[in-house]
Symmetry: C2
Subunit: 588 residues, 2 copies
């Protein structure tokens, strides 16, 4: 027992040291980011930087350090004919439980692999710990006014565009793979469904670098909203799409041709999982309107726990937690946020900002590290070239035709320079990486993973770094006064309307298509008053016959806010001669 | 492969569901806390509440739900003659890696155990994830002025008192155990070192309930400082003491008698580990003075990462991470905090407050759960009675004699009513639980764990709930105006000194013993100016001969603050007739 506890302690010390490497990496990244921000360096974003540091540490771990094989790893060959998840081992009468960690390739190299294997995380860590805060933050910090103004186009790019991109990339890759098979460059199986899967995972864009620069330079808000909205939603589409494709893949792995039934089934899974996750996220997002205003700590804790439980609930129900968390974040920003005390509004914003920052930089530095620490890379030049061609064409097939179609109905057209920027800003990031590392068991998946890594590196460094020249080359105006509200406090009466001298006509409604106008009216007149303390009380918006119901559903706070607002508006607008601006205040 | 991934998915769904149970528990706790705070209920603290909910869920899981054994757990008997940490299994040519999870008692009950085992965490989770934020927060939120004023007494209670308590409890328990052996009530081995170990783990007090009430009622600040300071430091003492005792325990487990060498070795380990952890914590705490004031997000992230890396570094070096983190927190509050931007000061405070809140409530609800979900409880009535008697006497042997000795030299005596309250407030909490669950392999440890659980329940509910009656019975004055600074912004020039009309003579120095006066002068004149932007610049405090050195070590910001301060002081004090108050401003 004594020797064993010593071994456990030794192993614990090593684990701490390995985790320390990552923390140090992040610390180094932060310090360099600070230096860059201080000096206003813009050609390299923090994510690109994190990758570089990760790469360096990966090289050092791979070639620099040789940790002698520790004694904690006595290995026993034990021949059985199955690999269950749990193994009970009978050691002279006492039973020990072992859990399956994964398949390994034993051999002479095992000693050296030890350390590299230790710095390799369980891929599920990305899906269950690191992605949720990133995606939630994206939903929670969405600039909703501009998002809703462009919602039609965003949905088109995100849904239709991602599916187009997935199939275009899939088909091109299938062509390349078939060619490789003929030439004899293919070292293993690669089916059509693998190609589609690859298409799905590399269709998730992550223009975090580009958007950071946009934000700093105050580039056109519509372009920002289009890019941001698309990238947030297409993450959700890509994750559900890829899992539907995996579900479609028959057990035999040998279907080259399409079967109508299987495609329909796949489509059914897509629609089912997506709408299920959506509904769950929205439902829990709406549920968390809190009345704990006096205790910001409790409020913040509750907010955090509810967001997390949305993720867990979705996973437990077989939906996609990440998608649920995205819509939960969007819903909470729209409704719950208004009910929080001002202190909690700050706290939650800052908390998720921090979590997002840490998780994002961790993923990117891990990406850099993994290029050298991952043990089963399959780099195939032809495949890599094919992939780069395919993502370029896939992105083009998404942006240009859809923009053309959208421009037919849009009032403010998406200019060709905007289209080129959107084409250029198709960076791949955390989601693509997480999806590709999730399963690296087969030859096809290993090749995809290695190629995906290169795609991420290339797009983040080259496209990310080239944003500034691209903007000036495309003559996109910068320094535009965006008339932007605070990121998450969009429709908050107190913050927008009470600001003296900042009264402005809300143009969201006028610019949107009619289905959204109906939704706006419903949201503004019924949902917001019901779920938040802001907006007009239900008694003012519901038909007169529902008076008693409206009265009992309206909180005293809502009345207060409303009365205050009315008093202020009348006072302020009594001096304004135009009657239209008066009306516009009653229809956000 | 397909069946296996299905099994993995099933298992993932179950894991999510189990984690969801905990999140729901926490959510429920928060909502009830809110209700209690709203209604000003004080007889039950949130930690006590969390335990009750945990208990209820434990009962439901144990007796209410029977999850059918999932197919993911096919169990294979595989007879080998060792139990290594890693097992390679040869399944028809392919190798799978398994990691040791622990010993199990197989049998007919295994099916039902499945779920209970799943809700049981790896004990190391407590030490590596849940305790660090709690302990760091304790150090970071220490009210340092009152702490330093009473530092002599606090150190006496924490170091001397904990050692006394440990040995008293150990000796009493050894008596009880010997008696049990004679009576035939002992079902396994129980050595003297086990008794001492038990003494060490139950000597860590955690009066969080009591302090919450003190805070709310504004009880005397010195009593608060004594209790809080003692409980923070004796956690550190208990953790190092218990690990030294384990290290002392010879491999044979058969030493009834003391050996001088072994005791010395144990003492050496204690001093070495404690001072090592202390030095490391202070060193990294001092190191993190940041200059990223313009970017609160980066600053907060860096602060968080540095605190965490202190923990990991200490663990990797073989010191105690929790102790290092405690002193890191105290150092950072004293030095680094002053360098942070005001926004980061809020952010870090709020972040660690939230983490502390979540971790603490999680541990307490897990405690409640574990009373029913833990599989190897050993409840022994005699041992339990003995333990309760022992902790009572141990606490008494700590408080009363030490208070008597301390009162000999203290100017403001610790009254007998204060002593009774300190005696009564010896609650056991998170640290005792974490230490006792860490190793539950032997009969002795299992009995300790079960008994410890009961002690925690009893003290939190009875002593915690009885604080209010106790205070009025002891006629402790409440509603005392504590003249308290903001918890973490103690010596911050801007916040204390600039407040007009709130000028006060700092009395810390006058009341402390001479070693601390020397330390104060050194800290104020050299360390603070060197490490922070507040305090007088080094050029004003260092001897004239060191002028050039002082100039190059002083930051421009410190000059600015100092000049500003001087201008303000002269202006303010020119109207004050007494010359002493003027002087007192130059010697915090």
């Amino acid at each position: 027992r004594d020797r064993k506890s010593q071994m456990a302690e030794e192993s614990h010390r090593q684990d701490s040291a390995y985790l320390l490497i990552f923390i140090m990496l992040l610390t180094l990244t932060i310090l360099t980011i600070w230096l860059f921000k201080h000096r206003r360096v813009r050609f390299l974003h923090e994510t690109g930087l994190a990758m570089i540091y990760g790469l360096l540490v990966g090289v050092i771990l791979r070639f620099g350090i040789h940790v002698p094989q520790s004694m904690s790893d006595v290995i026993l060959g034990c021949a059985v004919n199955a690999s269950p998840a749990t193994l009970l081992v009978n050691v002279s009468g006492r039973f020990y439980e072992y859990t399956l960690k994964g398949e390994v390739t034993p051999g002479s190299g095992h000693q050296d692999d030890e350390m590299l294997r230790k710095v390799t995380f369980d891929p599920e860590v990305f899906f269950n710990i690191l992605l949720p805060p990133i995606i939630f933050h994206a939903g929670y910090s969405l600039k909703r006014r501009h998002f809703f103004r462009n919602i039609g186009s965003i949905l088109a790019y995100a849904f239709l565009g991602t599916v187009i991109s997935c199939f275009v990339i899939g088909l091109i890759m299938y062509g390349f793979v078939s060619f490789m098979k003929v030439v004899g460059q293919l070292g293993g199986d690669f089916y059509f469904t693998d190609c589609l899967f690859f298409g799905a995972i590399v269709s998730a864009t992550d223009p975090v670098t580009v958007l950071a620069i946009f934000n700093e330079l105050k580039v056109d808000v519509d372009l920002y909203a289009l890019l941001f909205g698309e990238s947030v939603l297409n993450d959700a589409v890509a994750i559900v799409l890829s899992s539907s494709i995996v579900a479609y893949q028959p057990a035999g792995d040998n279907s080259h041709s399409f079967e109508a039934m299987a495609v329909l089934k796949s489509l059914g899974i897509f629609v089912g999982v997506f709408s299920g996750s959506f509904a769950l996220g929205v439902a829990t997002g709406v549920m968390t309107f809190t009345k704990l205003r006096d205790f910001p700590l409790l409020e913040t804790a509750l907010f955090f726990l509810m967001s997390w439980s949305t993720f867990l609930l979705a996973e437990a129900c077989g939906f996609t937690g990440v998608v649920a968390v995205l819509f939960c974040g969007m819903t909470q920003a729209h409704y719950t946020f208004n009910n929080l005390s001002p202190e909690s509004q700050d706290r939650t914003k800052q908390l998720f900002e921090l979590l997002n920052f840490l998780a994002e930089n961790f993923i990117f530095s891990y990406m850099g590290l993994t290029l050298f620490s991952f043990q089963s890379h399959v780099f195939n030049l032809l495949f890599i070239i094919g992939a780069f061609v395919a993502i370029f064409l896939g992105r083009a097939a998404n942006i240009y035709p859809l923009s053309f179609l959208l421009n037919l109905s849009r009032r403010n057209k998406i200019g060709s320079n905007f289209q080129h920027v959107m084409m250029f800003a198709g960076l791949r990031g955390a989601m693509t990486f997480a999806l590709s590392i999730r399963d690296t068991a087969t030859y096809a998946r290993q090749m995809m993973f290695s190629t995906t890594l290169l795609i991420v590196f290339f797009t983040v460094w080259v496209c990310g770094g080239g944003t500034m020249p691209m903007l000036s080359f495309m003559s996109i105006p910068v320094g535009v006064d965006s008339d932007q509200e605070n990121s998450v406090s969009d429709f908050n009466f107190e913050q927008i309307w009470y600001k003296k001298g900042n009264l402005r006509v809300n143009d969201t409604k006028q610019e949107s298509a009619w289905p959204f106008r109906i939704w706006y009216n419903f949201d503004h007149n019924y949902l917001k008053p019901l779920l938040t303390h802001s907006g007009p009380p239900l008694t003012a918006t519901m038909p007169a016959c529902c008076g008693p119901l409206a009265r009992c559903l309206t909180s005293p706070q809502a009345y207060e806010v409303w009365t205050e607002l009315l008093r202020y508006l009348f006072q302020e607008l009594s001096s304004c001669p135009c009657s239209t601006c008066f009306h516009s205040y009653f229809c956000i």
